[in-house]
Symmetry: D4
Amino acid sequence: MSQSLSVYLSGEIHTDWRERIADGVQAASLPVVLTGPVANHASSDECGVAILGDETASFWKDHKGAKLNAIRTRTLIENADVVVVRFGDKYRQWNAAFDAGMLAALGKPYVTLHGEEHVHALKEVDAGALGWATTVDEVLDVLAHVVRP
Amino acid sequence: MSQSLSVYLSGEIHTDWRERIADGVQAASLPVVLTGPVANHASSDECGVAILGDETASFWKDHKGAKLNAIRTRTLIENADVVVVRFGDKYRQWNAAFDAGMLAALGKPYVTLHGEEHVHALKEVDAGALGWATTVDEVLDVLAHVVRP
Amino acid sequence: MSQSLSVYLSGEIHTDWRERIADGVQAASLPVVLTGPVANHASSDECGVAILGDETASFWKDHKGAKLNAIRTRTLIENADVVVVRFGDKYRQWNAAFDAGMLAALGKPYVTLHGEEHVHALKEVDAGALGWATTVDEVLDVLAHVVRP
Amino acid sequence: MSQSLSVYLSGEIHTDWRERIADGVQAASLPVVLTGPVANHASSDECGVAILGDETASFWKDHKGAKLNAIRTRTLIENADVVVVRFGDKYRQWNAAFDAGMLAALGKPYVTLHGEEHVHALKEVDAGALGWATTVDEVLDVLAHVVRP
Amino acid sequence: MSQSLSVYLSGEIHTDWRERIADGVQAASLPVVLTGPVANHASSDECGVAILGDETASFWKDHKGAKLNAIRTRTLIENADVVVVRFGDKYRQWNAAFDAGMLAALGKPYVTLHGEEHVHALKEVDAGALGWATTVDEVLDVLAHVVRP
Amino acid sequence: MSQSLSVYLSGEIHTDWRERIADGVQAASLPVVLTGPVANHASSDECGVAILGDETASFWKDHKGAKLNAIRTRTLIENADVVVVRFGDKYRQWNAAFDAGMLAALGKPYVTLHGEEHVHALKEVDAGALGWATTVDEVLDVLAHVVRP
Amino acid sequence: MSQSLSVYLSGEIHTDWRERIADGVQAASLPVVLTGPVANHASSDECGVAILGDETASFWKDHKGAKLNAIRTRTLIENADVVVVRFGDKYRQWNAAFDAGMLAALGKPYVTLHGEEHVHALKEVDAGALGWATTVDEVLDVLAHVVRP
Amino acid sequence: MSQSLSVYLSGEIHTDWRERIADGVQAASLPVVLTGPVANHASSDECGVAILGDETASFWKDHKGAKLNAIRTRTLIENADVVVVRFGDKYRQWNAAFDAGMLAALGKPYVTLHGEEHVHALKEVDAGALGWATTVDEVLDVLAHVVRP
């Protein structure tokens, strides 16, 4: 490829998988530009009420925050060439599956990154993906293959 | 409305919420046509290998089934006017969040149906919805409002 | 035209202009199917909290109602062949201008119906329209012209 | 975000809110590129007849001007990542609601900026937005959140 | 084909080619539904000022009429399966070429109907067509081929 | 499903696979409407020159025929809910792969039907499909699964 | 506007209007990038047979050339922000009306440039435009207005 | 053209046609950026199992590889202005026809490159193309024509 590839990293924000992909991209000098959601958990959760005013009901607090984060998320997803969707061990992570559904409807290529234990529960998400990786190294190999000269 | 409304019922297939909506629609004589996924759990899970040949790896067994079910799901979702996305108490239900993501990307109206306990985890899904209901009766009232003469 | 024309009537819900168009369509036996928003003002304003639970903040009360009404509005606008957008003498009617903006972006034909006094303020809305009528009779003549055999 | 965010500032052209956002963006060194309509009121209103020839009827004078301005408006809106739609205290500002309707139909994120007194009248416009700000400072905080590294 | 084919007849309104196609469709009992613009020349030209008020400038008189006719034209073209675009011997017929351009951009199949003498001038229009017919009988044979059981 | 499913049968026209699917659909009373290309080989190949005039160069003879057939093919493919793409033992059948490419770009579900010997050569076509069947009976089981009540 | 505006100049290739617009853009230092079709008449007409082999029938000679030119035309039109469509005094210029139809269907802004004598014949083309200019100077003023800081 | 043209080279990966086009582009200093699939046959075929884990069934081995390659292919095809689709003498090359079908559905211009012997079998593919070349030199002349100043 003659231009760089724009890759959005969706999903889990509790482990260091984004940093490890960034390190691998840098180490291999891949022509890849990485983007992602606001990965600071507190900032991501509190942004709605912190910026646009407090709420008494938790639903509206979450609502305001989720919408502000969606400004960033949708913009970056629409500008990405490829997306990696990561499902970790904890939490329900419905936002990651939601992102995957948007990607499928937009016809934008995505690869999932999750362990063997989620294969059955993620079968619809994987059915729309162009690949399933189980490790960060596999994701890096996928990116290297896609951008090879 | 002068025509009937096409409503797809997405998500949980372990409780009788679809039947209760169907009963309510019939009781109120609403001009609503209901559709949904194959709700027989075994048939839904096994269809891939039952029809297109056995697999040794569970990933491919799930993969074949999820894709066959997607033929029906995508066709009905694209033909629906409105979708109700239900999240129940059990399982991870990533398929329901995946459907919601497709709906958001397609700009198709959807309403969620889930309990108070999932408000935080579903904040991104609810942020894209046009309403959050907690009971089947609320869903029926929404449908009745949408189609009132 | 060999089929009937689907016409959505957007905007003002405080006068009887919709009824007068319906009467005119019936009197002239035009092959026109009319649709519109929920025209009962109280029901339209209260639906959110009446169906999905009360709110203390007026913003969220309005928010829930506007979203429920949007389920109907967007469905009918997308299914319409032509839309008439009416601006009356009272209120700010930003919803009507909002509908017109959606129509312009969708490339769907619309005609405005408003008095001379709003010409300057509605110039952007009229610039996207395929006609400006000042009376219900003119609207009826437009519809009759569009569907003439 | 690794690239700059393109933000179109729609609506009111009688106060200095655009300058204040520009100042805040510069002060915080945000990677944000601001665009907007022709904000010179006279030039915006007169451009049609000034450039393409005089008109006797005020409707056509406004029509020609609104269409010329639409060349700029639509181009910049389609190229923007996010739009801020401002409703001030004066005038009917149907053009701002019209822009918001286009944004909703295009699925492009927008935030509204208006006072508490317009909450009810703007409920349809706010229902399609990803946030409601009441001050320029809140808008700046939203932009800072969206582009944080 | 198991359903009927919707065919819009665009272009020349001064000769009886539409009637001859209608006769041929009826004679062969083809499952074809024909539509077209308002073919009464005076009504088509005068409709704008006749319905929406007189104009002193011929440009605006034509403008109002062309826009009213566009309501019908665009609706029928978007609902058609196939379009026949006819160029006759007289007039400039830019409207027919305009319709063809819309069809090419929409990816909707169209066939041209014109004499040998216009081959060079219509080369861009023919380049986007799926066939060039020189007689009504050829058009009828094309339609019969498309709908054969 | 409450409505019938529209299924287009693309590809090979030298064997009786379409008749066998039609027989199976009828035998099982499936709510399925089948469509397909003109399956008479001579008519399909000769239609261009037979209808629109002879050609000396074989390229243009083929060109005219392929375009006339495309009127039907594209119309039916765009109206179909699902497509079955069949690759047989003979000929190059690039038209079937071309149809599959269109389906992938349109996001329309398709299932392939071909023997084990073509698995490697069809890997890109199968990668975009929602299922791979090797027999007509499997296709019938897929359709029965998709439309089950 | 903070970026340059991409303007495609469509239509007449027999007079120097493109050069005059280019001179005016340069003289005023407008941030405008101009593009256009291959304006060498002979090259434009002969390119098909000159590059891809001779043809005996004039229809196919024109066909091959028109298609090669369409590669450039469609690419530049889709990449343009605004298009100026020029109709001169001679020839039928159906290609210019064809371009305008594509622009209308794509929702891309265009301005026409033609004399008073073509107002009636171009009414459908002008009805889809955002402005009608009669001189190159008016076009330059339109561009200057659109890009003013 | 004032910018460079992005050209994707699709199809045959067993001969040196891509290198010859690259040489010709460089020799003529054409403002053309060339892209293409991973042209190393082994890497292209083995990438799925090499990166994402081995498979026992050849179908899944091919499936995984084809999907990984599709990440690159679809990204580059969607970013290209023009595509050249090459059919060589060997293999079935259904992937090339599949790419052509995607291009036709996307409305993206493409030119085919193949010998006289494939004219009949490729008639549907050629019917959607904007040109048919038989030699690399013809392709280079086409590109030079498209980008001439």
